[in-house]
Amino acid sequence: MGEKVLMKGNEAVAEAAIRAGCRLYFAYPITPQSELIEYMAKMMPKVNGTFVQAESEVSAINMVYGASGCGRRVMTSSSSPGISLKQEGISYIAGANLPAVIVNVQRGGPGLGDIQPAQGDYFQATKGGGHGDYRNIVLAPSTVQEFADMAGLAFDLADKYRNPVMILSDGLLGQMMEPVEFKPQKTKEELEELDRQHYEWCMYPNEDEPNHHHHEINSLEIDPLVLEKHVEKLSEKYDEIEAKEKRFEKYNIEADNEVLVVAFGTSARIAKSAIDELKEEGKSVGLIRPITVWPYPYEAISEAMTDKVKKVVVMELNLGQMIEDVKLAVNGKLPVEFLGKVGGILFTPEEAKAKILENL
């Protein structure tokens, strides 16, 4: 670890991605993620990397598809409306079993919405987004440090499972500055090793027979029986990810918790402020913060529902999306209440506290 620097989330995740071996980045400008594309434009030439400002988000994600087919660590980023445009490509990348990292710096929707922080893309990110049966691994940071750390994690998971990984942040995390410590830059040898590890399937310089390869980067299986097998194999991969990759944070989870709060990303930060204040007033409230929102840590929630917990309160910057997963975890055993804000407006720690007090 190096020294701490004060940095915007958008810049920190870009720097961390470069350090993790990302040498190709394709994107289209959009607020509130513009510092990310600008950082890449500035830094990629300095590491002999590739930066292309694409003609659209659709093109950007398909450039990612092509580069990923070559086995290289590649990333794109956008904000909500642009992420919608990328969904076609994400489905192809998932269908073709390719690694890729996509950063969503969420803003208010639907449509053009506004440019303030929001969490309205939860369904899109965790339940599909594009067409067909597939899953993205979705990581939800709540600090600038975690946002940066997730770049390396996202590439590692993407490579390990040959699957798209989305970092689901928001305008607040993208725009705010916090101290960050970065992991060291990958060495030339490590980058070459990353390249070689994909030779089994990726496009790379060929040889004549008998070592000639004909690798197909493809999501098309016209024979239904073959497609069935293909999708079943994807499903096995998703099962493995669900078994191994659930991540969450427990905050103030104690045996005497009376209310259990579930929130992710920015919402969880605000909830923590409320929980801290209530703790000083002698009230015990716990928080489960899903770090992977797919795979979703259902068990963490059900395990935190100890005897004294009377209610579960979900807090999100949307109309109530993750609450559906929380309800699956709670499974009807407790009432599930909701605090939400839309329009790109944050709920305040006071509002969070009031909501918890209502249910104590």
Partner: protein
């Protein structure tokens, strides 16, 4: 100990920079810090503001709704954020651009002609540094030495003349607060 600030002014007055220098100094003094700007079209010539938090403990919400300290570089900032300052808190306002005083009796209000002082020093740009000087002297939120070191690192090669003016402006601010 946690201090929450809002720095606010017209775009170009340097209110975001005030927050950034204070937060960065806090970080260099091993505290937890966050800096959250307002962003978007309002940045283009309108009122820009930033929430900054400097805290011993990890920072939960970076959004400041009830600041301990408000640095208001123009009247709209006083009007918008002044009423939300925590009782016992502090407001530092640019007297040149804030003709209407807040007159709360439960907070400390300091009005200083920052624009005039900055012009006297020789560059209107450094008015935000006058504000930093007042904060430093009045609250000891971070040490002057930390800010000075950071400014030197940032400006010594790039613009030594501006560095001198900045340091002058901070000291002037400290003088004012000292009275």
């Amino acid at each position: 100990m946690k201090t929450e600030l809002i720095c606010s002014g017209f775009g170009g007055q340097g209110s975001l920079t005030v927050g950034k220098f204070l937060a960065k100094a806090g970080m260099q003094e091993d505290k937890n810090v966050s800096w959250l700007p307002s962003y978007g079209p309002e940045m283009r010539g309108g009122t820009a503001n930033v929430s900054a938090v400097i805290s011993e403990k990890p920072i939960a919400s970076p959004l400041v709704t009830h600041p301990d300290i408000l640095i208001a570089l123009n009247q709209p900032s006083v009007d918008k954020f002044g009423p939300n300052i925590k009782p016992g808190g502090l407001m530092i306002a640019n007297e040149d651009m804030c003709p209407n005083k807040l007159n709360r009796d439960d907070i400390d209000e300091i009005y200083a002609p920052m624009s005039t002082i900055a012009k006297e020093i020789g560059n209107l740009k450094v008015l935000n540094m006058v504000a930093i000087g007042i904060v430093l002297e009045k609250t000891k939120l971070v040490n002057y030495d930390t800010i000075e070191k950071d400014l030197i690192q940032f400006l010594e090669k790039k613009n030594p003349k501006l560095l001198k003016l900045n340091l002058q402006a901070i000291k002037k601010g400290m003088e004012i607060a000292g009275y």
